[in-house]
Assembly symmetry: C2
Homo-oligomer: 233 residues x 2
DNA sequence: CGAACTGTTGAGAGGCTTCAAGCCTAGTGG
DNA sequence: CCACTAGGCTTGAAGCCTCTCAACAGTTCG
């Protein structure tokens, strides 16, 4: 089903609620709103590719994207997801490097593009903006370091359990405790860093053990404590 | 052999050469030099521990440290090394979190401690300082992401080859192409994310294959191209 | 309705880990 | 000065976790 909306609503163009912009003054916000360009992207769209030159960063005002690197034999490694309130592409932009990841839309997304010049302007004019940016990158760095430790030391089973819990924390559940984000087995495998078949087998095990229930791509949490134990947290 | 020096020389207390301080003006440098405290630490010293509260960050003006996280069963995961010109502990400081890593001295080290207040002062007074900081964190984040992909997709053999090449790029070689940094087999294992025994076996293999030569902890590069091939880069 | 993609299951192979035992080296204390 | 000890290093054997390959079922979509 294609969405009937093909241009973002005003609500979807509003970035003033983003934490990183909280301390901007009137003038800075005006400039930001003047410079930004918002668009809607359908599922499967590539926002930028590994190796491409970026002209700005993006604010996610709606939808979900996956950010991944392409490794051996073109196998994806999912680094993180981005959802409403997140910013993407800022890392490579700030380092003035070519993009080292690809961003692909998982659920219909609205993005606001902020040009590099505007980013520089904000860094120069408002130290609190820089400070916020620093905190965002530092948080992401901690998460990356945590993940390195996990992936280096834990079994695939533990990592999958942990990834499920991580999804539970970061994405919506319906009132039956079912994850609303829909991922393929392969995408789960690309988060965990394993083979698709392993994910399938382990999901069955978790289901057998009454930790979760699985209906196609719908994953329902039944025993979170047990899952936490399985993740060895 | 204990070093006969027990307090840092003036040279070791000089942080003006650090990239991150390049754009400071006279007054900011004066403040920085006034606020900093430099000390020498011998091999094995712990600078800060995972979970501790940090009062500032450190500039490494001499020596080498390892930065690691403690994972399952107390197994270390080495996140990175820090050497002359690097700064450490800034990540947790900027996020205002407890330290998420431990820093331990590998080779006698001189560190200059810069209080949190001074860091904040510099962020507020000089946007170019913030910009430099942002670039440093972003670079580290890229490296972390690269490493996640490697560790998730490559074999232990490939990762060890890559780690050796990484050490070669980042640390001194003598004129016989021998790495000057001295690491235990366990430390190598804790970088690669594998068992000590596996490192031992693979080093022997590399030696057999004439890629490197090994004499105790001295590692000498013989065939870098071959090692690069083994790393699947 | 076929094509392409996704999900599932089984079998087999192999990379790595773990455990265990012994060696070597350096530092210590008698 | 030398035996002793502790920690690092090495090697072997056994076995498991995970991957790969292959075949097939189910689903989606043009």
């Amino acid at each position: 089903m294609r969405s009937s909306i093909n241009r973002p609503t005003d609500e979807d163009s509003d970035v003033s609620g983003f934490q990183v912009f909280k301390k901007l003054n009137e003038q800075e916000l005006t400039q930001l709103n003047y410079d930004k360009t918002c668009s809607m992207y359908s599922k499967g769209s590539i926002i930028y590719r590994e190796g491409s030159r970026l002209t700005g960063f993006y604010c996610v005002t709606r939808g979900i994207l996956k950010i991944f690197k392409t490794g051996i034999d073109g196998k994806e490694q999912i680094i993180r997801f981005a959802k409403k309130g997140d910013i993407i592409a800022y890392r490579s932009l700030l380092s003035q490097e070519l993009a080292c990841t690809t961003a692909k839309v998982i659920e219909e997304t609205v993005l606001c593009h902020i040009p590099y010049q505007t980013l520089l302007y904000l860094i120069q004019s408002n130290w609190q903006f820089s400070h916020h940016m620093l905190q965002i990158v530092c948080k992401e760095l901690r998460e990356a370091n945590d993940y390195i430790t996990d992936i280096a030391q834990k079994s695939v089973r533990e990592r999958l359990a942990e990834v499920l819990l991580l999804l539970k924390e970061n994405f919506d559940l319906d009132n039956a405790n079912t994850l609303q984000i829909s991922l393929t087995r392969e995408e789960l495998a690309n988060m965990v860093g394993t083979a698709t078949e392993s994910v399938i087998r382990l999901l069955s095990e978790f289901k057998q053990d009454q930790l979760i229930d699985v209906q196609g791509r719908k994953i329902k949490f039944i025993n979170v404590a047990g899952l936490t134990r399985a993740a060895n947290l």
